[in-house]
Symmetry: D2
Subunit: 336 residues, 4 copies
C-alpha cells in the first residue's frame, strides 16, 4: 500500500486526487495539507467527501510527514511549489509536482514567463516530465516528476506521432484549445462568476499563455529540433474538459488513413490514449483519465483533435498514473 500525502489538498486538483486515491486499491491517503486558512476536516472543506474521508486537512509539518508517506502529490501553485519540493524530497518521498516549477528546462524561459527567480535549479535538472505515453522509461526511476500542464497534455498527445515521424513543418503548428471553467481554479473571480461565465465563451492569454513554452519544449524534444507553436486558449461554460484542435502543415501530402494508422501504431498498447474514427467529445472523457484523438487531413493541412479531462488526465489522474509507474504498480490501477 503506497502511503500518499497530498500537499495543497484544498483546491480542485487536491480533491480530485483525494477521490481517486480513495478508490485506488494500491494506495491510501495518510496526510492532507493546506494553507492554515483552508484547513479543517476533509468533509467540511469539501461537501463531496462527507462520510468518505475521515481525515483532517492540516498545515504542513515536515516532522509529522517524515515516515508517514511514500509519495507526495504536490498540488501547490506555480512559484510556491519550488519552496516545498526540496524538503519533500529530503524527507525521502517520491514527489509528483503539479506546478510548472519543474517543467521548463530552460531557466530563462521559466523566469520570463513566471516572472520569478527559480530557487531550486538543482532538482529541476533531475525532474522528469510526467507524460507517461512519451517518457515512461525516465519516469520509472525518477524521484521528482513534473506533472504536465493540462493544455500541453492534450496538445502534445494530439501531435506527438507527427513530430516523432517528422511529418510536419515544425513552425506551422496552431493549437486552438477550449477549456472548461475548472481550469481557472477555485478562487472566485469576476470572469468566472456564474452569471458572467455561464452562456459565455471567450479567448484569453493571447500570445502569452504560460503553457506555450511548455508545449514548445516538449514538442521540440519529441521532434529533435526546435518547434514553434501558436497556442490560443479559450474558456467555455462547462466544468471539465479540454478540446484541442490542432492545425499543422505536412511536409508532404499525406492521406487521412495513413495518419490514422500511424496514430494507432504509435499509441498501440497505451491504455489511456484512444484513437477515434470521428471527432472526440469532451463529455466522453469527463471524469476519466482517457485522451480521445481523431486525426485527419483537410484541404492540405493535418487537423488533429484531442479531448481530455483537465482535472484528470490533465492533472490528478495523470499524477497518479505517474505514481503507479514510479512505484511499479500496474499503470492503470485506480484509474480505469
Amino acid at each position: 500500500m503506497i502511503r500518499v500525502a497530498i500537499i495543497g489538498a484544498s483546491g480542485y486538483t487536491g480533491v480530485e486526487s483525494i477521490e481517486i486515491i480513495l478508490r485506488h486499491p494500491g494506495a491510501e491517503l495518510t496526510y492532507l495539507t493546506a494553507l492554515e486558512s483552508e484547513c479543517g476536516h476533509a468533509e467540511d472543506v469539501f461537501g463531496r467527501l462527507k462520510g468518505r474521508c475521515d481525515m483532517q486537512i492540516e498545515p504542513l509539518d515536515f516532522d509529522k510527514l517524515t515516515g508517514l508517506a511514500d509519495a507526495a502529490l504536490c498540488c501547490l501553485p506555480h512559484k510556491v511549489s519550488m519552496g516545498f519540493v526540496p524538503k519533500l524530497l529530503d524527507a525521502g518521498l517520491k514527489v509528483i509536482d503539479f506546478s510548472a516549477d519543474y517543467r521548463l528546462k530552460d531557466i530563462s524561459v521559466y523566469e520570463k514567463f513566471y516572472d520569478v527567480k527559480h530557487t531550486d535549479t538543482a532538482n529541476l535538472e533531475n525532474a522528469v516530465y510526467g507524460l507517461p505515453e512519451l517518457f515512461r522509461e525516465q519516469i520509472k526511476g525518477a524521484d521528482l516528476i513534473a506533472n504536465p500542464g493540462c493544455y500541453p497534455t492534450g496538445a502534445i498527445l494530439a501531435i506527438a506521432p507527427l513530430l516523432k515521424e517528422g511529418l510536419i513543418e515544425t513552425d506551422s503548428i496552431i493549437v486552438n484549445a477550449v477549456t472548461g471553467a475548472s481550469g481557472a481554479g477555485k478562487n472566485p473571480s469576476s470572469k468566472f462568476h456564474f452569471p458572467n461565465m455561464n452562456e459565455n465563451l471567450f479567448a484569453y492569454g493571447v500570445g502569452s499563455h504560460r503553457h506555450m513554452p511548455e508545449m514548445e519544449q516538449i514538442a521540440g524534444e519529441i521532434a529533435g529540433s526546435k518547434v514553434r507553436i501558436l497556442f490560443q486558449p479559450h474558456a467555455g461554460p462547462f466544468d471539465r474538459g479540454i478540446l484541442s484542435t490542432v492545425y499543422c502543415q505536412p511536409k508532404e501530402k499525406v492521406a487521412s488513413e495513413q495518419l490514422s494508422q500511424l496514430y494507432q501504431n504509435f499509441y498501440a498498447g497505451e491504455a489511456f490514449v484512444q484513437i477515434c474514427s470521428n471527432t472526440p467529445a469532451v463529455k466522453d472523457v469527463a471524469g476519466t483519465n482517457y485522451c480521445h484523438i481523431f486525426v485527419t487531413c483537410v484541404k492540405g493541412k493535418i487537423v488533429s483533435f484531442s479531448a481530455i479531462d483537465n482535472l484528470v488526465k490533465g492533472a490528478s489522474g495523470q499524477a497518479i498514473q505517474n505514481m503507479n509507474i514510479v512505484f511499479g504498480l500496474e499503470e492503470t490501477l485506480g484509474l480505469k
Copy 2:
C-alpha cells in the same frame, strides 16, 4: 422624453435598466452613477454596451443631477439606498428604489431582518409598493416607489387572487422558489463561482430570507388580515428567472376550472400577467417583463406556479413599468 438617472448603474439591475431605457421610445438616459471604484465609460464597465451607450458612469454628484433628470432608478443595495433617496427626492426627482429600504412598513421588522436602524422613516411612510397589478392607483401619484423584491413579485402574483377572494387558509402558504444565479448579484463568491454553481442546485436562507416578511406584509394587505408564509428559496444553474411553486390549503373544496377562471378575471387587462393552461417555464419569460401563472388543485391543495425573470419583472422591468405609470405613459412602453 423622460430623463432618467440610474443611481448604482454598475450592477446587474443597473445594466438591465440601461438596456431597457436604450430601447424605450419615451425615455432617455441622462445620468449614470456608481461607486468611484466602479466608474468608467459605460462600454468599458459593460462589454455588452459597446457602441450602444456613449456615456460615462460617474460618481454621484447631486449638484450635477439637479435639472438633469426627471426620474431616478435607484439600484443601490439595501441599507445604502436610504442614505440617498431623501436627497434624490429633494432634488425633485421621482424615485423608483430597488432596495428593500422602503418596502417594509413595520420598522421593527425591517430593523430585525436588515439588522440596521432605519434612517428615513419620513419617506418610508409615503412610499408606495410598486406592484402595478395590485397597487396601480397608488403608484400613479407617488413620488417614491419601493420596487418589489424579485421573490415577492413572483410569489404575490401567484396567490393574489386567492388572498383577495379569501379562498385560502392564510397560515397554510408555502412558497417554494428557485432563482437563477443572477439573483446573487455581480460580486464573485465561492458559492456562485462557475465550477461550484454549474450543475448545482441548493436551498438557502432557511427560515430567514428577507423576502419572507415582505411577502407576508403584502399578502396581508391583499387579504386584509395577517398572513403567514413559509418561504423557501433555492438557487439553480441558470442566469435568469424565478420559478415559484406555491402550495396552500383552500378553506373549501374548489375546482381547478374555477381557479383558472378566477385568475383570468383577476388579471384581465393586465398586459404582463398571463394565465397559462399548463405549468410555466422560466425560459419563456427570460428577458421579458411577463409573469406566467398556472393554478390548479392537487390532492385537496391549491398549487400555483409562477415564472418571472428576476432581473426584469423582478427588478428593472417592473421599475420601468412603475416609471411609465408615474409619468402617465402607456404602461407597457419599452417593455413589450
Copy 3:
C-alpha cells in the same frame, strides 16, 4: 466474482451500471443486451467506454444467458420489464429490476398509473423493495429486487425517521423536487432539446406523476398507516441530481436539534446517508451513491432537504448496493 448481465444496457442507467461494475472489485460484466436497433460494440454505443469495455451489446438470448451470469441488472422500461423478469428468474439469476413493474404492491394502483394489465403478479408478490437503509433484511434473501424510483429514493430517505417515529401528520406531506435532465432518459424530445432545456426550469406531472403512489406506499409501510403525499416534480438545467424539499406538519412542536439527533440516530451506521448541518447541494452527491440530508423546523413546519444523484443512488448505484447485499458482499463495494 459475481457475473453480471445488464439487460437493457443501451440507456443512461445501463451505461452507469456498466461503469460502476467496471470499477467493482467483486463483480464482472459477462453479458450486455439491448434492443436489436441499439446493439453494437459497447465502445460504439457509448463513446465514454472506448478502451474500457471490450464487449458487444447484443440482443437478449436466454439460452446464451443461462450459465453466463449470476445477477441481472434489468434496466428495461416500465411495462416491458415484467415480460422479461420471469425468464431471468427462471434462468436462475438474482434480478435487480429498475422498472416500476415490481414496486407497487396494489395491482389496481399499478394498472391505473401505468395503464396496462400486470402480467407477472406471481413474482410481484415476492419482490422486495430495494431501499437498503429501510429494507436491508428482506433484501438479503430476495431473488427479485424492485429497485426504487429516483424520486421516491430521495423523498423517502428525507422523511423516513419522521414516519417511523410517528412525528408528523401523515396527510400533510408535500414533496417538492427538482431533477436533472438525465431523468428524462436518452430519447430526444422537444422539451429536453438543449436549446429548450438549457436555462430553463419547469414543473411537470402535476398531480399525476407515477412516483407519487410509490412514495405513498413505502411511506405507509414505514408509518404503519396510510400516508398521503402531494408530490410535485420539476426539471432543471443540469445533468444529474435530485433535490427534494419536503414540507410536513409535526403532530407536536419539535426542535430542530431533536430532529437532527433523530436523523443521526436513525441513519447511524449507514454509509450512504449523511446528515448534514446545512442544506445539501446536488453537486456534492453527483456521481456518487450518497444521499445528503438536512432537516430543520421553520415556522412550525418541518422541512427536510435531501440530495441524491438520480442515476446512482436513484438507480444504478442503489441497484449495485442491493446486489452487494444479496450476494453477501460488503455493501459499499465498488460504490465508495
Copy 4:
C-alpha cells in the same frame, strides 16, 4: 409601416424574427406561416409569445399573402426555400431569404454541397448577399436578399479588412469557430439532447461544412482573387453565439496597432461592428445584432476574433437590418 410576412415562422429564426418585429417601430407582422403540422396560435407554438402576439401561424396561402405584406422574411430550410421564393417575388414582395439557396453563385458548388439540383437559377443571378457592412449599396436596390449564414457572417467580418487590403496570404486562412446549440435548429436529435450536449464540446463537419464554400466565395469577392479557407466548426454547451478565431499569414510583417487601426477605419460608421481592445465574449453580444472583433499579431501570424449572436447578427437581426436598408429605413431601427 412595413408589413412583414414570416414564412417558416415555427423555428428558432422564425420566433427571433417575430420578437424583433414586435419591438420594431417601423414594421408590423401581418402574416405568419409554417408547415401545417406546426401551425396554431403564435402563443401556443411559442410560450414566449403569450400575450405578445395575437396571431395565427397558418399554412402559406399565396392568394392570402398578396396585398397583405411588403416584405417576406423567408425562414425556410435549404432546398425548400427555392421552391417558394419565386412565388414570393411574383407576389410583389421584397424577399430576405435565410436559406443558402441564393448565396452560392457557382451552381455546381451549390449542387455539390447541398446535393440537389438548383431550381431557381434565374433569381439566383439577381440575389444580393446580405452582409450590409460589405454590400450595402447592392442591397439598397435588391428585390431578393440572400441573408448570410451564421458562420460566414462572423468569419467574414473578422477578416474583411485584411482581404480588402490584400494583407494576407489567401490560402492561409483557418477559421476555428464554436457555435451555441441553437445553431442546430429546433428539431430534437441525440447529439443535442440536453444530457448529451450539456457539459460537452465537439468538432463536427470536418472538411465538409456547407458554410466553407460560402466563406470562400465572399472572401474571394472581397479580395478580388481566389481565397482558400480551412473552416472547422464546433458546437458548445450554450444557447446563442458564435466565437470565431481566425488565423492567417500576413504577406509582410505587420504590427498589432496597425491592424487595430485598419479595422477601426474599415468599420468606421458601422453601428453593429465594434472593434475591441481585447478578446470578445459571446455573452456580450448574445441577444444583440452586434459583432465584436479583436485583431492582433501572435508569433508572426494574424489572429482575429469575432463574436456574434448566431440567431441575431447571424440570422434574424441581420435580415431585419437588410430589410431596413431595402425599404430606406434607418438601418439600426428595431435593432439597437
